[in-house]
C-alpha cells in the first residue's frame, strides 16, 4: 500500500473507533434523553409522546443497531436537532466552525514560522540572550494557564493601556486568543527545534564541517536544520491537540461564538446531539491534521542522522 492510502485508512478507522467510543459514553449518560426533550420542547409528557420519541430515537433497539443508524444519518449530514435550541446541529456547527478554526489554525501556523529563526539563533549561541529569553518564555508559558494570561492581558492591554477593545465582534477580537495559542506553541516548538539543532553539534560530521571551513551558522543550517525540523513537526502534533482542546476555554473567556462556546452552553441542558457532534468535529479535525503531518514526514523521507 502506498503511504497516502495507508494514512487515509488509518485516519478513517481511528475516526470510526472514536465515534463508537463517544457514542457509547454518551449513551451511558445517566439522565433520560426523552425526559430532557419533553422538558426542553414543552411537549405533553403522556405515554404516547414518550413512546413516540423512544421509537423515533430507536432507544429500545440494541446499542449496535442504534450506533449504525446514527452513523448512517451522521454521514448523510443529519446531525440531529439540538435539545436546547431546537435547530439542526449541523447548521449551527457550520456557522460557528470557521471562527474556531481560524483561531486555532492561525495560532498554530504562526508558531513554526517564528520558532525556526528563534530556535536557530538560540542554538547558535547557547546561553546567549535569545536562548535565555526563549527558555524563560517556555518555563513561563507551560506553567501559566492561558485563561489567566488572557485575563491579565485583558486587564493590562484593555483596561490600563487601552490598546485593544475587548469583546468586539470584528476580527480584532481574535488578536488575543490567536496570540495566546501562538505563544504557547512558539515556546514549546522553539525549545524542541533548539534541542535537536544542538544535538547535531555534538556529531562528528558537524566538527568535520567546521574543519572544512564552514562557519557555525552555515554548518548548523546545512546539517542541522532538516534534523531539527523533523523533531519540530513531530512536536507540532501535540501542540495542535493542545490548541484545539483549549479553544473552548478561550472562546468562553473572550466571548467568541465558536463551537466550544456552543458546547459549553449546551452541556448544562444535557444536549447530547451537540456533544456527539463536537467530539466528532474535533476528532476529525485533529486526525486530518495528523494525517497531514504524517504525509509531511513521509515526504521528508527517513529521519536524517
Amino acid at each position: 500500500m502506498t503511504l497516502p492510502a495507508r494514512i487515509t485508512l488509518r485516519t478513517v478507522t481511528s475516526l470510526l473507533v472514536i465515534s463508537l467510543l463517544a457514542f457509547a459514553v454518551i449513551s451511558a449518560m445517566p439522565s433520560d434523553p426523552v425526559a430532557i426533550a419533553i422538558r426542553a420542547w414543552n411537549l405533553p409528557s403522556d405515554g404516547a409522546t414518550v413512546a413516540g420519541l423512544r421509537a423515533q430515537w430507536e432507544l429500545d433497539r440494541p446499542f449496535i443497531e442504534r450506533y449504525g443508524s446514527w452513523l448512517a444519518r451522521f454521514v448523510r449530514g443529519d446531525w440531529g436537532i439540538s435539545f436546547r435550541t431546537g435547530e439542526p446541529v449541523l447548521a449551527e456547527f457550520l456557522q460557528r466552525l470557521p471562527l474556531t478554526m481560524t483561531m486555532a489554525l492561525s495560532g498554530l501556523a504562526l508558531a513554526p514560522l517564528l520558532a525556526v529563526p528563534l530556535g536557530f539563533f538560540a542554538a547558535l549561541r547557547p546561553s546567549g540572550l535569545i536562548d535565555r529569553a526563549t527558555r524563560g518564555l517556555a518555563v513561563f508559558i507551560q506553567a501559566v494557564p492561558s485563561i489567566w494570561l488572557g485575563l491579565i492581558l485583558l486587564y493590562v492591554l484593555g483596561v490600563q493601556l487601552r490598546w485593544i477593545r475587548p469583546f468586539t465582534r470584528d476580527w480584532t477580537g481574535l488578536i488575543l486568543p490567536v496570540a495566546l495559542i501562538a505563544l504557547h506553541s512558539l515556546a514549546v516548538l522553539t525549545r524542541v527545534y533548539r534541542r535537536d539543532l544542538l544535538e547535531v553539534t555534538r556529531q562528528p560530521f558537524f566538527r568535520t564541517a567546521l574543519a572544512k571551513g564552514l562557519t557555525r551558522s552555515a554548518a548548523l543550517w546545512r546539517h542541522g536544520h532538516a534534523h531539527a525540523l523533523y523533531a519540530m513537526i513531530s512536536a507540532f502534533r501535540a501542540e495542535a491537540s493542545w490548541a484545539v482542546g483549549s479553544t473552548a476555554a478561550l472562546e468562553v473567556l473572550f466571548g467568541l461564538p465558536g463551537i466550544g462556546q456552543f458546547l459549553v452552553e449546551s452541556i448544562a441542558a444535557r444536549d447530547y446531539p451537540v456533544l456527539q457532534a463536537y467530539v466528532m468535529v474535533v476528532a476529525a479535525w485533529l486526525l486530518v491534521l495528523n494525517a497531514g503531518v504524517a504525509l509531511c514526514l513521509g515526504w521528508l523521507g527517513p529521519r536524517p542522522a
Binding site: 473507533v17 451511558a28 507551560q142 494557564p145 492561558s146 489567566w148 483596561v159 476555554a249 452541556i267
Partner: protein, 254 residues
Amino acid sequence: MRRTVSTLALLLIGLMLIGAVWQPHDPDAIDLSLRFAPPSLDHWLGTDQLGRDVLARLMIGGWRTVAVLGCVAAIGMVGGTVFGVAAAMLEGWRGALILRAGEMFIVVPTLVVALTAAAVFGLNPVTAGVAMGLAGIGPYTLFAHALARRLLAEPFVQAARAMGVGGSGLVVRHVVPNMAPVLFAHIGANAGLAVTAYAALAFLGLGADPSRPDWGAMLFEYRMFLFDHPLLMVWPGLAIAMVSATLNAVFDAH
C-alpha cells in the same frame, strides 16, 4: 538547587493537603458587610464579592487539585504499565493492536475527553481526574512499551530468562521495578499540564457548584470584577501557576 525545588514542591503539596481538613475561615460563610475587603490580618488574601474568605476557598481548591493529580497519576501509571508491558511481551498482532490503539488516542485532546466525561457524569475532581487519566493511557502505553522493549533486551533480563525465569517472573521482578521510576517521572512531567487542564475545565464551569471552589471556577467567577477588583483573579491564577511551575521544575530535572 534540586533540593530546594523538591522541598518547595513537598511544602506546596503539604499546604494543598491541609486544605482538605482545615481552612482559616468557613469557605462558604457569606458576609455582605465585608464585600471586597482588601488583604488584612484576619483575611490574609482579602474577601470576594460575597465577603467569603479567599484564602479558605483557595485551600479547598488546592485539595481538589491534588485529588485530580492523584487520579491522573495513578491511572496513567497502572494503565501505561499494564498495556505497555503487555504490548512488549505479546509479539505479533496482539501487541500491534495495543500499540495501534495507543496511537489512536494520542490524537484526542485530553481536555475534550474530560469535557465529555464532565458533561455525562458531572464535574468533580474524581470524574475529571479519571477522564484525564484515561486520556493519558494511550501516550503512556507507547512510552512504557519503548521502556519495556529496551529492558527486555538488557543482558540481565536475558540472563534471568536463560536461568529459566518465566514471563510473569520477568515482568514482576525485572521489567516493572526498573521501568516504574522512569514512567513516573514522565507522567510527572505532564502533571503541570494536568493542573492547567483541570483549571480550564473548572473555568468552563460544567455543572459548577459554587459551594465547591476550584481554582479555575474562581477565575471564572472573579473575572467579572476584572475592572474594579483585579486582585481577586490574581490569587487563583497565581496558585495554578505556582503549582504547575513547581511540578514542571521538579520533573524536568530528571
